[in-house]
Amino acid sequence: MSIPVSIRIQHADFDLAQEIATLTAGRTDIGAVVSFSGICRGDGGLAAMTLEHYPGMAEAEIERHAHEACARWPLTGVTVIHRVGRLTPGDNIMMVLAASAHRQAAFQAAEFLMDYLKAHAPFWKREENADGSTWVAAQQHDDAAAARWDKT
């Protein structure tokens, strides 16, 4: 049986509860659902951020990693939604859901997907504040976090 994997990149907001309901509807083999929601912070006078992505590649890359997560852990479903466009503090940026019979698999898969998304998915953030706008610099610790999943 194939594992439901849903990847969406969209301007619109998402409804986490609806996504969990969709992933679990009619199933009694799911014991654990882990969600991660990334939210736009207002630190340092941030007025807004604009998210750009590489259409086509972004979807394909996330989907490839979602399937890799399904191969690594006994998952029953994965959903990733990443917003693009202009967002203001408090807005949802993205979400990852991982469902499994067991909690460890769901936690590990959600963390794996988040570490991957931060370091390797083709998205770029530009932040606006009172001084103008600047592109967010990549964080070295994000590369390190992603590298811990590399198979040796």
Partner: protein, 83 residues
């Protein structure tokens, strides 16, 4: 060959994509970046630190020493900051 630029690479060059045919002497992604940097002031600015530029060939991440022969679409962009 279609070239695509994202984020500040796109902003500095001033276009999101263009079709260019680099000479045969340009064989790798790294050499392509070097060749583009010589095409004018905006390109020189975009590629002033070639070591930070990331690349994808036909929507797959590649390293600077990857050969570009046969590529339909080469994308050049800064390190990613999604999530």
């Amino acid at each position: 060959m279609k070239l695509k630029y994202f984020a500040w690479v796109r902003e500095r060059i001033g276009v999101a994509e263009e079709n260019l045919d680099p000479p045969d002497s340009v064989r790798t992604v790294g050499e392509l970046i070097g060749w583009l940097a010589g095409r004018g002031e905006t390109y020189a600015y975009a590629f002033e630190k070639p070591g930070v530029i990331r690349a994808a060939i036909d929507q797959t991440h590649v390293k600077p020493d990857t050969l570009i022969a046969g590529a339909h679409e080469v994308a050049l962009f800064p390190p990613m900051t999604g999530g």
